[in-house]
């Protein structure tokens, strides 16, 4: 399964890069979402996959039973999901604001900070 997920991560990343290179900033933000999914999966998979054994300590025991899933990547991914969501939400509002201000979603036409030079 790890191999299969590795391929899925590759495809997610490829699509993310492709989308982020688009002129339309909405596509860019779709790419951002796919990229954060790819990153989360990567962190999760790098900690190895353990089927059906969440890292819990049963009542009465001091340590979890042998062979539970790796808790560390889960904690990291949890944080990453939330922060990724914060980034996405802000980027979305920024795009919305850019559209109401500039009247376009085309990143090539967003040239307020670096206006096109004469004759180019």
């Amino acid at each position: 399964m790890e191999t299969l997920i590795a391929i899925a991560i590759g495809i997610l990343t490829a699509a993310a890069v492709y989308l982020m290179l688009a002129r339309n900033v909405l596509r860019f933000i779709f790419g951002l979402l796919l990229l954060s999914n790819a990153a989360n999966l990567l962190i999760f998979t790098a900690g190895r996959l353990t089927q059906g054994a969440p890292p819990l300590i049963p009542k009465g025991a001091d340590i979890p039973p042998e062979g539970v899933a790796n808790a560390l990547p889960q904690a990291l991914v949890l944080t990453a999901i939330v922060i990724g969501f914060g980034l996405f939400a802000f980027a979305l509002v920024l795009i919305f604001r850019a559209y109401t201000g500039l009247g376009t979603l085309d990143s090539d036409d967003m040239r307020v900070a670096e206006p096109k030079e004469q004759g180019r």
Partner: protein
């Protein structure tokens, strides 16, 4: 510089620097007997022990001569400035810069560590920049300041490289340590690179041809600054460095020829151009170049005559040149102009200035009984002692000296004793006494030392020569009358030639001006160099900074692909075999779901389809979390996916379609790059999975979660206990994002309402 301001003065800020400089002068003066009797005085404090950098200070003959000149002329210049710039609104700044410069320059000449010397060297460059650009309202001041800094700063970079090479070759950064093992340095394979780099620093600082052009431009600085930095002290830092390292670097053919030829060229070239100038200050600036060239020329040799000539001329020049600069300041102050063609007949209105100017100029022209005469005799003796090419060197010195005499006449005789050439802007009036003190004292010293050369022979000249030649009692004696010999005959020839040149200087100037205008100019060359640099910079900026987001991303992803692919190719043991053991249908189904959703998002032209496909991908990922023992993560993922879809849907209502015709978005180039990055990432994941997993951290959390943190859900314990600060940071990030989004939306509302 209002008349009211002159009376007001600058208060305590004007007096403090004078007191400081005077105290330093007294201190160095009190060291004379110790140095001349017992040799170098040393103090050392560790500074950066790890790099073998000490704040080590040595006061030997050479340092002492410089230190006395710096602090002595410094005192007079500070006194002078206090009147010259009386009531200037930025006098405090000026006094600060000037004091900083003086301290940096003193540090430079007493440092016994190469790196400390370099730091002081750069400090003088910086303060010189600030002082040349003191009149920063004028564009030409700013240009001159920048030019001086760039030229000397570029040289300083070379110097730094040279000093580091020298330090590593000699195995120490202590100057006294290095000059004690000159043979090691001279015989090392890196000797020539070291020499070239160090001389690049010294020649730029001391304005030798072809780096000379910044010095005349530096005359944009207030006149006391020109007198102090750009004549008596700072420009001699390069000369000082060459003298300081003379024992370690001299004595080779490269050293001899480089210094002799460039010094001679600079001396003759500068003295010819000096005669061409009509601005008194510029004329003096070019004669300073001539002096620097002559000093360099003498350092090329290592005969006692040449080095004695070096030490004597160093002192002579500083005395008369600082005096003359200050005189020009007085003339400018008293008449409102520095134009040699206009000025004349000032002796009646400005008698003290006239006499000081006359005395200093006689020393400069090399008339007996002034110190300049002795200096000139020694110059000829030194020039004749340059074994290889005495005729050439003596010829160069003869031409330069004759021209010097003519310039001395133009600067100091004509404005005072000849009839005026035109109407003066102001009615000439004598300068106040603090401005006269400098020229009078400095000119008088030139006369006193000339009549009584014993005064400086044992105290300054001998220790100075000793520290350059690293031997005792090598200095030649200074005599006013040394009998009829070749130097005396050359002197007489100088007088005849010089007086002729002075008599003809009006006509000569016209010829020189025509030549000068026809010849290519270093200054315009400099402008072209800078323009070229700027053109390259803007070309490169246009190339790299297109201002188009997609191009930046293309560069980033391209670079990412290349570096990752190259690392994989170079470091990986090979492509791991793909194997799919024990896979059930549900696994295939989930992955198929994710991949299908991904491709749909990438290619669709419909936003509804895109949102739906994004949802599919998110749920697919959540399912993976569910299957592989991460229920908490799965819950969060589902929650966030829902929110994402809701948010996009809300915003989309206000935004246009992805594409008006809902076409598929197909860009082959981007697809190739995306596929490349994707393949590389997959390879990396497979490589990571092939490595053994380090579980120490996980084990620690598993063992301590319950006994220490009293939690049974290990993931939760990590988040809220072990890594609580990270979680706090995460909450803060979300909060900030929310606040920022709110602020953006509020301004949108206002704009819409408008």
């Amino acid at each position: 510089m209002t008349t009211a301001g002159e009376k007001r003065g600058n208060g305590i800020i004007g007096v403090l620097p004078i007191a400081l400089a005077a105290a330093l002068f007294v201190f160095f003066f009190s060291q004379i007997s110790a140095v001349s009797r017992f040799g170098p005085q040393m103090v050392s404090v560790p500074w950066v022990p790890a790099l073998d950098v000490q704040l080590a200070f040595t006061l030997d003959g050479l340092s002492l001569v410089f230190a006395l000149l710096i602090s002595g002329i410094g005192t007079l210049v500070m006194l002078y400035s206090n009147s010259y710039l009386a009531g200037h609104p930025q006098y405090a700044r000026f006094a600060l810069y000037l004091t900083l410069f003086m301290l940096a320059m003193l540090g430079l000449v007493v440092s016994d560590n190469l790196l400390a010397l370099f730091v002081f060297w750069e400090l003088t460059t910086l303060t010189s920049y600030l002082l040349i650009g003191f009149g920063h309202e004028s564009a030409s001041s700013r240009r001159s300041a920048l030019q001086a800094m760039l030229v000397t700063g570029a040289g300083a970079l070379a110097l730094l490289a040279g000093l580091i090479l020298l330090g590593s070759v000699a195995g120490t950064y202590s100057i006294s340590g290095i000059i004690a093992q000159g043979d090691v340095v001279r015989e090392h394979a890196l000797y020539v690179p070291i020499l070239v780099l160090i001389l690049a620093g010294a020649f730029t600082k001391s304005a030798q041809v072809p780096f000379h052009f910044w010095l005349p431009n530096a005359m944009a600085a207030p006149t006391p600054v020109s007198a102090f930095l750009h004549s008596a002290t700072m420009v001699k830092a390069g000369v000082y460095l060459m003298a300081r390292l003379h024992p370690a670097l001299s004595g080779t053919e490269v050293w001899l020829w480089t210094l002799t030829i460039l010094g001679a060229v600079t001396a003759v070239f500068a003295s010819v151009l000096a005669l061409r100038q009509t601005d008194l200050k510029l004329a003096l600036a070019y004669t300073t170049l001539m002096a620097l060239g002559t000093l360099t020329l003498f350092l090329g040799s290592d005969t006692e005559y040449a080095i004695t000539a070096f030490c004597t001329f160093l002192i002579v020049h500083s005395l008369y040149k600082a005096a003359l600069f200050l005189v020009v300041g007085c003339v400018d102050h008293g008449t409102g102009t520095r134009d040699a063609a206009l000025l004349g007949g000032l002796a009646r209105a400005m008698p003290v200035t006239a006499i000081a100017a006359g005395v200093a100029a006689l020393s400069m022209a090399g008339f007996p009984p002034f110190l300049g005469f002795i200096g000139k005799e020694l110059k000829y003796a030194g020039a004749l002692a340059v074994a290889s090419e005495p005729v050439l060197v003596a010829g160069a010195v003869l031409v330069a000296n004759a021209l010097m005499l003519a310039v001395a006449g133009v600067v100091s005789f004509k404005p005072f004793w000849r009839p005026a050439g035109g109407a003066l802007p102001d009615t000439p009036h004598e300068a106040p006494w603090p401005m006269l003190a400098g020229p009078v004292i400095l000119a008088a010293l030139g006369a006193v030392f000339g009549i009584q050369p014993d005064l400086i022979q044992a105290t300054l000249i001998n220790p100075g020569v000793d520290s350059i030649l690293r031997a005792r009692g090598e200095a030649k004696e200074l005599h006013l009358w040394a009998g009829v010999n070749l130097p005396l005959i050359l002197s007489v020839a100088t007088f005849i030639l010089g007086l002729t040149l002075y008599a003809l200087h009006g006509r000569l100037r016209a010829v020189l001006t025509r030549w000068d205008e026809a010849a290519p100019h270093f200054d315009t060359g400099w402008d072209r160099l800078l323009d070229g640099l700027k053109a390259v910079a803007s070309w490169q900026t246009r190339l790299l900074q297109s201002g188009v987001l997609r191009r930046y991303l293309l560069t980033i992803f391209g670079a990412l692909f290349v570096t990752l692919a190259w690392t994989l190719y170079a470091r990986s043991p090979g492509i791991p075999a793909l194997s799919f053991p024990d896979l059930e249908l549900k696994h295939w189904a989930i992955i198929a779901l994710i991949i299908a959703g991904t491709i749909e998002v990438a290619l669709t032209g419909s936003r509804v389809a895109a949102i739906a496909a994004l949802g599919v991908v998110g749920i697919g990922v959540a399912l993976i979390f569910v299957i592989y023992g991460a229920p908490d993560v799965a819950i969060t993922q589902l929650l966030v996916e829902t929110l994402v879809v809701v948010l996009i849907a809300v915003v989309m209502l206000r935004l246009p379609h992805l594409d008006e015709n809902r076409r598929r978005d197909w860009r082959p180039r981007d697809a190739v790059l995306g596929a490349g990055v994707g393949v590389v990432v997959t390879m990396i994941v497979l490589q990571v999975l092939a490595q053994p997993l380090d579980t120490r951290l996980t084990d620690y959390f598993e063992v301590t979660a319950w006994p220490e943190a009293f939690g049974r859900n290990i993931v939760n314990v990590i988040l809220v206990d072990f890594r609580a600060l990270d979680t706090f940071g995460e909450i803060a990030v979300v909060l900030i994002a929310a606040l920022a989004a709110y602020a953006l939306l509020r301004t949108t509302k206002e704009e819409v309402e408008k």
